[in-house]
Subunit: 440 residues, 4 copies
């Protein structure tokens, strides 16, 4: 059956279109710097927010109205698969992502859960044959079920560690089966509620062991996807071990995993950790660890993960700037880990929201490319650090100096001619690029 | 002497200009809905951030480089007046604002301070004759001097209350002398460091008495400026009594001052209090208390008042939407209570920063007016609340019902047909307006 | 059946008891300043957190293990009533609180819901005959059901307003039937998700009308409970109208409701709004509007309402100080609007948590009373504001002065002899009282 | 001359003393677990907050009243040295800490600054002969002077890098001369104001080079102090590279510096980064990198570094628990990087504040030792992780398993018997220990 009746495939109609079911800025075929927007942006739909999320919050029951609301169990799971591929096609997105429990109900034991998964994975594989949609990444939900109350790989109970391993093992097999480009680890309960009852050293050691075993198993079965850690500072845990990119980077180095993992960076997780989205992208990029992106945004006045669809054009511009500087996302993509608001409960809102997000990043791409083409920020930076290209600066950069020579040099300094950082002018220039990007 | 040599009067050159010393979006003479941009926006320069701020922060000494750096005392004060009028003219701003201590140094006692003020006020008055710049508002700095360590009108020491009153008295006289349109009260130390040593009831009562005396004195001398309270939640005080607009509204009502005061709303203070800028404007507007605006922006990831020049176009659009809905700012204006970053230490940065801010609000004005012209949000709202225009809804609005009737009605309800809030679509539409505003 | 088998009535065993099922500091019969601890503290159990909460969070399913887990519908409701009275007795608490939906399931329409309520209310009334537990307050849950997606009394749909009114009408009748001392309004969805689609003025006007009708109806049926508003700044709404006590105070004054309502102040809501718990209590107290208290605590590093059981002794001390200064809580009480952590999923934890909270406030009571007996803070304050008891200070306080006289006085000031605020010493003294409170 | 006349040496008088100039809980000679309190706590006075800080804030001039206020230049510097040793003796603290610019004024060039330093260092060395006070650590202030506007070792200008190196070189020499136990690096401006003009990779590389050269030079001159990094997330920089312990740990590993540096952990910096104080201590401890502590506290409702004297007994207890688990602080200590409030402007307040802090950590020490003696938390933890001591759990910990075996095991799991985390009970127990610590 059709789930989104009355809605045609979303098409690009340009900036002045009044059609709410059309792209205004995202033109999949438009080439920017030699690649189409579709190739660069690699959009993905999040299965959980789009097909399973019901709009409930800590103070309210589900509000979403869906064509599959009357179904249960495997029937529900199948209807969602059906709906999902209709959605990918109508939305014209090339990728999707899911957790194991998004696509199939858990059974009364692990074997039964796996059986359910096998059936649905088979169905998805069939649908993929007739669709351009591919699996950007999958993952195991090791946080919702009460067994994960004290964590998964960092649980205080060894059985939970084992159960988590079995779920990830299955996830890796599914990823291979469906040709996933990446495999993601988000450790929502890999952290602590309180230090008072926690053996953090043991938990971190176990987490390190878990990741090594996962990497070994992927290798064993020939699943060569990128392995990605998705940092988040807190929620649901009071404190999460993968707090932010730098924290996870310290962990990966300590456990000799830094050559096996890259990062999946979510905008809203960045801001909850006290960083800008672009900071996290930048840190990962200069460490050659930028793998993929969860494209959403938070509300800076709220202290929890709101997972809003991204519409902040300033932010999408700076994010795309980092991504383009990175040479693109490689095997990663822009996954809309974003949910329609509880008040946006109609199925139409799923389209409106994805259009909003896809247009916002398309704008970001276009503005960022123009900033790069005109060397706007590149010139700012090369000019600002010019003293490191010769003399004592070059000695510093080349490691050809020491505190003796530097002190000698410093004794001779009379005045240091510094430059203004010019922040206000730079911001105004970016605004100008933004406002002119679609003004031709 | 000239302070800003080499800089000509800033002119509008349009969106594609590459001249850093030109407006790209602010065209003072352009008419929007029958009024010029200059008439609607009523920009003001903050004397303190532009002519006296030195770039120091809690961890660093001043960094700003100014032509008046070598001067002291009254010579310094006079040089700043000279520079300020050159700046107003070159920046083409119609208003300015100051605290008493910004324009003249404090003497060794109150009489001497007043004498210094008189001399500089006379000088300013002379300069105003040849300038279009007018005084948007003035105020008394009752927070910097150590005597205000425990507050001013809410000090624990009666002498400080008296001293504060004398300073405001002088401020009202200066406002009258220079034809100020408004008089502002920002109570940076009107609050507490700790409740443990504070008699909050006495302090609030004293604050109420102080405001009444100020209003009485202004009336006595025939100074008919708008009286404005500028709320801020904290900093420098741990907790400030005028926390936000609603808190100050409660205070004004409690002390029967709500017909004598309106609000001067600062964007960065709004966000520090947990509100959006537009929320504070909206709250004041629907209570008919929107007086004037301190146009700046904060950094949502920093917990203090950064007073940045406003460049967030989303925010300036929503702010201008509130202002236009208010029928404009009346006698108020848009005062750039904003400072260049410590790293932007050259005088040129003062121009770049004001251009950035003036262009940003000009964009906001243009986009907001188009949203109003097309009834974008008006239609959303009228459609959404349609049930209140007839039947039981109209009874509710007209006060023609009670719990008996409402219960009877509710017993008959079988299904409530609610509408989606459509937040994602609305945001995308505003982005579309923003990107198209200068695309003709 | 018994639900808490193996647990005897919790008794006071003193500070050195090692029994986890005993009070160490709360001795219900101990007299402090002429009243027993039980009389002053007026503890209440929250029905929702103790008998219906399942431990789910936005990323996880319920984890709680309860004797009533196997039941459904009215059977479940009845088992909970049974369990609740066993708990009140074993915990030795004199009060309880509930929302309508906590005690009885909603039916397929309002009439059926009311019928369910009637049956359970009758059952509760029976149980109350054999119990000392009384109803501190009840309230209507007008936020969980999807019909409240856009608010209740501030819904964009008039039918929802009517439905909400009918639910509160029933709530008032239940309160009367069960002899409630108070009736609470917490407006979790009385606010907005976004200003962009909101008619705030209409919503606030409707809220004012709603409160007036509620007060009228209570009067009509002779239900003379205290009416309480419970402020909260956000969550689930992005912005809630009853942001904090001051904001709600402004609202109550604007709508001439300030003589009809007092406040129910929750610690965690205070901190989410940027205030200390004691600030909110103090503000309410000096406005004679301190009605009741939701005794819990938040995690200052988390941005959402964690509703933890209160264990911070500094905070309980300062809270009890305000409450004692208020002459006690009157008809209000200390309601544990607090939930055991998701990881504390055993029924025993319900006892441990209440013991922790009851002991913590008992400590606070004892320390606060000693601070009052020794006039520790009273002396600090009277000494600090001494200048307002004579001379110009007394003129200020008596309203016998104006800006002329104050300026004259200020001209004569040569030096102002201010006192240190002594914050560090005051804090050390309170610590000393705390550590000595049970050292006899 | 005497600076603190009328104040005798602070002595321990016990918990019931009413003498504000006495210790109530800190008894330097009392043995706890075989070491005196003085030996374990290793308190240090911060030269900057106690002898140079003037009470100014971003909105106010200095308020402190000091005996040395009338002096300038080297005379001022000498008076402060004199006062400092009087203070150490009267306060009975065994250590002090300083930045270069705290002890001697900067000259007009580096040579002159060094000459001033030499003179004061000589004077300090003389005073140390007659004092028990030793230098816990010194550091270079590379953030206050305008030359550091864009950073020090991460400046965009090579001359600033050189100047910074020369200052640290001198600092290392001074540390050696005075027998410092540690040398600290706090990078207040080693970060960025905006990413838009920043070459983060180059700046981090330079920082790595700088640290290597510093370590090399210390080795060269035979200065064997512990090298410590003090993380802070922001302020004054918008984003600081040493954001928190984990971030700096990642950096140290990346640049192969992790065997050369440990951490100096400040409580207020921890909370600004979103962590508890004990989290940062714990993370450093389990990585064997806990070097020293800046003992202060923040205000969780304020978003900046308030550097308050520590009085939160819960926090000092958990901090001391980590320190005792670490086997003490080794060559580190507890440095009061804390300032009296602006309102506590009298010299007496310096004593009150240090007494408050020293008593608070003495309480923490005593309670923590009792928790350890009674194995309160140790038992919680060993019980909670018991499944890792045998069977599959032991295989996991020993690295004797893989995903195949774990899946096999998981297929056999029918029910996982998890334990409650018991957070509420644990907290209540700690409160009980706290309240009983001085009840004998
Ligand atoms: Co995500
Ligand atoms: Co998220
Ligand atoms: Co302002
Ligand atoms: Co400000
Ligand atoms: Co509550
Ligand atoms: Co709450
Ligand atoms: Co520090
Ligand atoms: Co600090």
């Amino acid at each position: 059956m059709a789930h989104f009746t009355g809605i045609e495939k979303i098409k690009f109609e340009g900036a002045s279109s009044k059609n709410p079911f059309a792209f205004k800025f995202y033109n999949p075929e438009e080439k920017i710097n030699g690649k189409t927007m579709e190739e660069t942006l690699r959009y993905a739909v999040s299965y959980w927010h789009t097909f399973t999320m019901d709009g409930s919050d800590p103070f309210g029951a589900g509000s979403m109205v869906r064509t599959w609301d009357h179904l249960k169990g495997m029937d529900l799971a199948k209807a969602r698969v059906e709906a999902s591929f209709e959605f990918y096609e109508k939305m014209d997105v090339p990728f999707f992502c899911f957790h194991d429990v998004d696509i199939a109900p858990e059974g009364s034991n692990l074997r039964e859960s796996n059986k359910n998964l096998d059936e649905i994975v088979g169905m998805i594989k069939e649908y993929m044959k007739d669709s351009k949609a591919k699996l950007l990444w999958n993952t195991a939900n090791n946080f919702t079920h009460p067994r994960f109350v004290h964590g998964a790989a960092t649980s205080s109970h060894a059985d939970v560690f084992a159960y988590s391993a079995a779920k990830v093992k299955k996830g890796l097999e599914i990823g291979k089966e469906l040709g996933a480009e990446n495999y993601v680890f988000w450790g929502g309960r890999e952290g602590y509620e309180t230090l008072l009852n926690t053996d953090m050293k043991l938990e971190l050691d176990n987490l390190g062991r878990f990741y090594h075993m996962a990497a070994d198993y992927a290798k064993e079965i020939g699943f060569d996807a990128q392995f990605l850690i998705e940092p988040k500072p807190k929620e649901p845990s009071t404190h999460q071990y993968d707090y932010d990119v730098a924290t996870a980077h310290a962990f990966l180095q300590s456990y000799k995993l830094d050559d096996k993992f890259k990062f999946n960076i979510e905008a809203n997780h960045a801001t909850l950790a006290g960083h800008t989205f672009e900071h996290e992208l930048h840190y990962a990029r200069i460490n050659n660890m930028l793998g993929s992106v969860d494209a959403n945004q938070g509300d800076p006045l709220l202290g929890w993960d709101t997972d809003e669809f991204p519409t902040d054009l300033w932010s999408t511009t700076l994010a795309m700037y980092e991504i383009l500087q990175n040479g693109g996302l490689g095997r990663g993509g822009l996954n809309f880990d974003a949910k329609v608001r509880r008040g946006s409960f109609e199925q139409d809102d799923l389209f409106h929201a994805h259009i909003a997000g896809m247009d916002a990043f398309a704008v970001g791409l276009k503005v960022a490319q123009q900033l790069i083409d005109d060397k706007v920020l590149e010139n700012v930076v090369s000019n600002r650090y010019e003293t490191y290209t010769n003399g004592i600066g070059l000695d510093i950069v080349n490691g050809n100096t020491d505190f003796h020579q530097l002190e000698d040099y410093a004794f001779g300094i009379t005045d240091i001619k510094q430059q203004s950082g010019r922040l206000e002018q730079i911001k105004a220039t970016i605004n100008q690029y933004l406002l002119q990007a679609f003004a031709k």
